[in-house]
Amino acid sequence: MSILVLAEHNNIDIKSSTLNTISAASQIEQEIDVLVTGFQCEELAKKIAKCEKVSKVIFVDNEKLKNPIAENIEPIVLSVAEKYSHIMAPATTFGKNIFPRIAVKLDLAQISDVIKIISNDTFMRPIYAGNAIATVKSNDKTKIITIRPTSFDPVETSGGSDIVESLEFETQNNSVEFIDREESHSERPELSTARVVISGGRGLQSAENFKLLNEIADKLNAAVGASRAAVDAGYVSNDYQVGQTGKVVVPDLYIAVGISGAIQHLAGMKESKVIVAINKDEEAPIFNVADYGLNADLFEALPQLSSELDKLNTIQQ
């Protein structure tokens, strides 16, 4: 049997979450088909077929698929589902939105947010916002799975089969209509997939001061995040929030500035490889999870950090 991966993309570029999901699938089975549903995205389908581990791309192109409406994508997946032992998508808002529909229509359970593959029917997934890890075994004949992208290294974007198979599909749903999308544009990497994240908390004291983080972020090619306290205080918008009720991030380096370390924030970042905490309160719980703690006033530490990074770059050049 083979595995089907549903691709997340924006009609032009593949999202890295898809590459992570293909990588997870390859731990179970080597025959991996990728389903690409979109509009005017043949070039993209070809690009995906070139990715490592991809046996074949199944490509459905029509105007109603320009935006990923769950009700439109669900019947396409269902139409090819019976050929596969596992059907996978990234556990992003894209995959989360669509996959439970596929599971229920096939009368199957879904296993959400898999962080580790033990065997072809046994998986590990976080529960209670990562405060416990469950090992679960699915007894269903087809496994419907969403994959936490940050738990799997992405596959390379070359080395694939280069085979694209076109599939005609008429989309009939009229009960949902896409209106618009307001993407938070940023020159910086996306928060959920960035290699370095620098986040600020209430300690920053104002929206204006948050800009101190931008300067450092630019030097490290980092994404900027925030604690819930900073979001609630109105310093930055919701989409910056890292934590149980925001985004879960697993970067190589996480720098927490003026963040005390509430349970809800820790749930969103404590899997990061290296954690740095800068806080003037030496009792702040964030120091308990930090690899490197600096007990200092952030308004002194951030400019120093900025100039130290400059020095580093000068030496490298």
């Binding site: 409406i69 009700e71 669900e74 808002t93 894209f94 989360k96 939105n97 669509i98 996959f99 439970p100 529909r101 229920v104 229509k105 199957l108 359970a109 879904q110 296993i111 959400s112 529960i127 209670y128 405060n131 416990a132 890890i133 469950a134 090992t135 679960v136 075994k137 699915s138 009960s175 949902v176 209509e177 896409f178 209106i179 618009d180 999308r181 307001e182 993407e183 938070s184 959920s192 370095v196 919701n238 989409d239 149980q244 009720t245 490889k273 290296v274 740095v276 120091f287 308990n288 930090a290 690899d291 490197y292 703690g293 200092a296 530490a301 120093q304 950090l305 130290e308 990074l309 580093l312």
Partner: protein, 249 residues
């Protein structure tokens, strides 16, 4: 217009979770339980829709053991009109839960089903989408704004890239994000009044639905504990450590 709101009783979000030493699950005895936080947003949104004159009845549904009725009472004290308790002592999976909700929806014929986008215990994020698919009603997941019009609603959704707006026909299923609204507290007189509101109790096994479990939980364990690292004296030392020891910059 009738609204159906589903609520789940979960370990309170402020409680530090403890895994049982035998790996069979997490400790629930003598632990504070509350309504699942985004379910509170669902109840609040239903109340606001009713207060705006667009709905006339709010039904609260909970599935679980006897104590699920406490959670229903909380929603009734916030202002919902009546409750339905589907009784079961088993931990049902989202697949079974969505079948039960669909069955109740077919009987009650609400115009909108509101639920939390995710329960903070099993973190599945499935029930809303599954219910929508079973009923063949449109879904509006991760909703942070719901504007009801005549025969449709415009819903703003929280997605990874930012915000998305969709228009869905009524009836539909909404899964609510924490940013949808600020849930109210029940006042004492309303808590007293809620005691007299009716709750219809049915046994889950009497519904004629397959609610068997499909997933076996083999083990629950603590996540790997993070070792506390070191304190550095100044920024210069920090940068040196990141460069030469951790090798991340």
């Amino acid at each position: 217009m009738k609204l159906l709101v589903t609520v789940k009783r979960v370990i309170d979000y402020n409680v530090q979770i403890r895994v049982k030493p035998d790996g069979s699950g997490v400790e629930k005895d003598n632990v504070k339980m509350s309504m699942n936080p985004p379910d509170e947003n669902a109840v609040e949104e239903a109340l606001r829709i009713k207060e705006s004159g667009k709905a006339d009845e709010i039904i609260v549904l909970s599935i679980g053991g006897d104590k699920a009725q406490e959670t229903i009472r909380t929603a009734l004290a916030m202002g919902a009109d009546r409750g339905i308790h589907i009784k079961t002592d088993n931990e049902l999976e989202p697949l079974a839960i969505s079948k039960i909700i669909s069955k109740i929806a077919e009987e009650e014929k609400p115009s909108i089903i509101l639920m939390g986008k995710q329960a903070i215990d099993d973190d599945s994020n499935q029930t809303g989408q599954m219910t929508s698919a079973l009923l063949n009603w449109p879904q509006a997941t991760f909703a942070s704004k719901i504007e009801i019009e005549d025969k449709s609603a415009t819903v703003t959704r929280e997605i990874d890239e930012g915000l998305e707006r969709i228009k869905v026909n009524i009836p539909f299923v909404a899964s609510c994000d924490l940013r949808l609204n600020e849930p109210r507290y029940a006042s004492l007189p309303n808590i007293m009044k809620a005691k007299k509101k009716p709750i219809d109790i049915k046994d889950a096994n009497s519904l004629g639905i397959d609610i068997s479990s499909r997933i076996e939980q083999l083990k629950v364990e603590e996540p790997p504990v993070r070792q506390k690292g070191i304190m550095v004296n100044d920024v210069s030392e920090l940068v040196q450590k990141l460069k030469h020891e951790a090798k991340v910059i």
